[in-house]
Amino acid sequence: MMTKQRQSEYIVLLCGALALVFTFALNITQGEASINFAAILNAFFDTQKNLTTDIILGFRLPRAIMGCIAGGALAVSGALTQSILRNPIVSPSLLGIHAGSFLFIVLAVIFAPLLMADHPFLVSISGGLCAVLLVGLIAGGRSAPPLRMLLSGLLVGMSLNGLTEALLILHEEQSRQIIGWNAGSLRQNGWDNLQLVWPWITVSLLLALLMAHQLDVARLGSDAARGLGQKTRLVSGIVFALILILSGITIAVTGPIGFVGLVVPHLVKQAGIRRHAIILPACILWGGSLLLAADTLTYQLGSLTDTPPVGAVTAMIGAPFLLWLVLHQSHGDRGVILSEGQTSRFFLPRITYAPLWLIAVFILSLIILLLIAGLAWVGGYSLSVSQLLQALHGAKGSIAERIVWNIRLPRLCNAFLVGAGFALAGTLFQAVLRNPLADSGVVGVSGGAAAASLLLLALVPAAPPYAIGLSALSGGLCSGGAVYAMAWHLGLSPGRLSIIGISVAALCGAFTQILLIQSRFTGNPLIWLIGSPYGTSWSTTSLLAVTLVVAFPCVWLIAELIGLLCLNDQSAHGLGLDVNTTRLLAGGIGIAVASLCVSCTGPIGYVGLIAPHMARLLVGHLTRPNLLLAPLIGAVLVGAADCLARVIIAPAELPTGAVIAMIGAPYLLYLTRRSLKA
């Protein structure tokens, strides 16, 4: 047995080394100037310098070496993350570390270019640190259940990416410089970066190797590890520092490249390797080969305008891999991911026992206040109260009347309606997935809609807005439907549904990245991805109103069944509930509503997530009151955020989604803190 284990270890290492050499050689042959293989070989032995030698030695060789180093670092940081969190489905990118580092880099490039030039690693590592702290706090600590950790990572990642996108929209000039970095690139400009990076990465990798035995112990769980005499706090501190350094430094030089850290450690462990002393070197070899292979693929499509970012390619490989992992998991440690026990709720006491009607009246009056304030003051043109009243009475044809009736009123109505829609969908998703961190991003609706609208824009650049809306609608429905269909095939368990949703969202995200890169010079494609009721009119209002008028009664009818979904499947069955049909129905309505909302305004995250929680704080866990209040709260949230978005940097405006993310993340933190105390 022992020898067989050893044998497979040697095979994995040997094959890894061969794969690395092969992909390395292949990578060097690729580039924008066509240089044949003989000339490449010549370049290595040529003593007199010519241009080909320069290209090979000064451009492609450092690129390939960077590929090895970055791939190895990413794979090892993934392996470390999985071992120390004892969670087989995490990686630094899924934990939001990449998004955090990248946000900090963008912030530094825009606001503190000197800091970025002098201390790029510091900037990037501190971004990763912030993200990881945020994820840890939201998930409720290091020992949080795997799925919850993953969902909080996704959430933090999405909101940080939202902020990054908002920054890029507002700073057009810098965004041209940065956007190509957004999904990673191995391109090098000589040896400078490599010289800067390699000591850090090498030392960190060596340290990781020295920790191999400690990691073997840590994987047994903290109690067992302590029993075996390990200083668990010290070990996890060092490992986390290594993870942050490895991924932070890699991101600072290559941009965020996801999924290498997830796929490679899995494959290595799949090959039957258990000891970290072998896992880590194998990860270095295979991580390097995977990244170099992905990078080599990108050059097949032409010059930079058409070259997809390497991060998108790794996501295209990695997301289906995650899907496969979920669809084919049967036993072993992967079973842990999907066990029903770890889906948890926030157990929070109500903060008020006021009657429902009073709360509803209070929120409605907030909406009316927002309406008045929004009509009178928000927008570029200032109106006095008397002008507003005249306009509302219909002083026909005056500017005030046109501004109020044609611009402000429809926009406010759309903000309210879309907020209500997202909140309704969020309530449904949280019940169906039995998970307090679910919203329309998690089931893949937002990602599918974004990818589909960019695809249409790439094919028909002058497509009218309604066509783009339709395309977004069908994209959202398709990806949401696909997630559901795959999960249905596996019995619709909440855990599987979430992970399938995450993989599909990542796949759509990779697609979006590729389309973004292609159109960055000729238009402003980001404007279609950012959620905001900007530029919407009464026709949107009627569409949203019809959607809600149809969907709400349907949900109301099955409200009691939805309420039972929060029990575990056996109890629900015992009460005579057809669990799967209910899940299908509620989830289907949720996907339809969310897709329609996304198609009208673009994805506005966090509303669907926090509105249901706020409702629960106010009225407890009864389903019908929640279904009533959550949409109202959602309306207030989006309405208020949209007003703020238009005021902060007038006459320009911020994306509404970014404003909500800024409110939403801290609120979620507060919620977790409270529920941990309770």
């Binding site: 290209i55 929209i169 041209r176 940065i178 927008g379 044609n406 497509a463 000729t522």
Partner: protein, 311 residues
């Protein structure tokens, strides 16, 4: 004979008729959105991108509202007509403030098809909208397209003579430039133009194709343009790395630094130092201009090129 004379006179009178009664028709034009008509000659015009600002100022019209006015001032400098400081700032060109546009009560809104796309119906309620594609379809010569766009806009704002005047001025400038360069013996010299941006890692070079506007200017100044690739004709450029420059070693390299960092990164590479046009110092730096479909930047660009070669 008399019959013919009468016939000719008659037809002359008839041919004058349209000018008397077809006022309305004269205010209709074809642009990339289809047909756009204004009731009367537009005088209060809103410009939603830098190209539109340039068209208006080239025709001697001060817009009443523009997006990102600071960008126009930054990219054109002092030698172009000044954009009035009292002009209303409408925010970003990707999401202009619609209320402010409405409050200006314009009689024409100018933009490009990507930035009016999202709210075309709202804008149309405010005033007629005319928009052009930044990169004309049909792979055409972008200089000719720019001039025809200028004349089209001139009809909407009733400045046909100013358009003629501008075109004539540009022609004369190109002619003078051609002769000056010819005296330096530069006729038919191969050149290639790139715009240098600090990419994620390493400089990105936006390499212009022969049908691009600046390449056409270079051709009209007597140079022979070295980059002509069917794949790049649609947009008139490709974005690439320094490796590609290997193909153009025989040409003189003209570059517009979009940012200093880009140049820094380009110069750092050993490839750059060993390119033949770098070693032989056949390099010419030209100030960055936002040059596609923009008349004033075109004029500035041709002056920049002539002075770059004269010095």
């Amino acid at each position: 004979m008399t019959y013919y004379r009468r016939h000719i006179l008659g037809s002359m009178v008839l041919s004058l008729l349209p000018f008397c009664n077809a006022k309305a028709e004269d205010h209709c034009i074809h642009d990339d959105l289809g047909e756009t008509c204004v009731d009367k000659t537009a005088s209060r015009v809103v410009a939603l991108d830098q190209q539109s600002i340039e068209f208006l100022l080239a025709l001697g019209v001060q817009p009443v509202g523009v997006t990102s006015p600071e960008n126009y001032r930054k990219f054109t400098g002092n030698s172009a007509p000044e954009l009035s400081y009292s002009v209303q700032d409408l925010g970003l060109s990707s999401s202009p403030n619609i209320e402010l546009i409405m409050a200006l009560q314009p009689d024409l809104i100018l933009g490009n098809i990507t930035n009016v796309q999202k709210n075309l119906s709202l804008l149309k309620e405010i005033a007629p909208v005319s928009a052009f594609a930044s990169y004309p379809s049909g792979h055409s010569d972008q200089f000719t397209t720019m001039l025809s766009n200028l004349r089209t806009i001139a009809r909407l704002v009733g400045r046909a003579t100013e358009a003629d005047h501008f075109c004539k001025m540009l022609d004369t400038a190109l002619d003078t430039g051609y002769r000056r360069l010819a005296t330096l013996g530069l006729t038919s010299k191969p050149v290639v133009l790139g715009n240098i941006n600090a990419g994620a890692r390493g400089a990105e070079i936006m390499l212009f194709n022969q049908n691009a506007l600046p390449a056409q200017i270079l051709k009209r100044l007597g140079f022979s343009y070295a980059c002509n690739d069917e794949r790049y004709r649609e947009k008139g450029f490709t974005v690439t790395s320094v490796e590609t420059l290997m193909e153009f070693e025989n040409a003189d390299f003209l570059y517009m630094p979009f940012n200093e960092k880009g140049m820094e990164r380009l110069i750092q590479t050993p490839i750059w130092r060993n390119l033949r046009f770098v070693r032989e110092k056949r390099l010419h730096s030209i100030p960055y201009r936002l040059i596609h479909n923009a008349p004033l930047s075109t004029r500035l660009f041709q002056a920049d090129v002539v002075s770059a070669f004269q010095s």
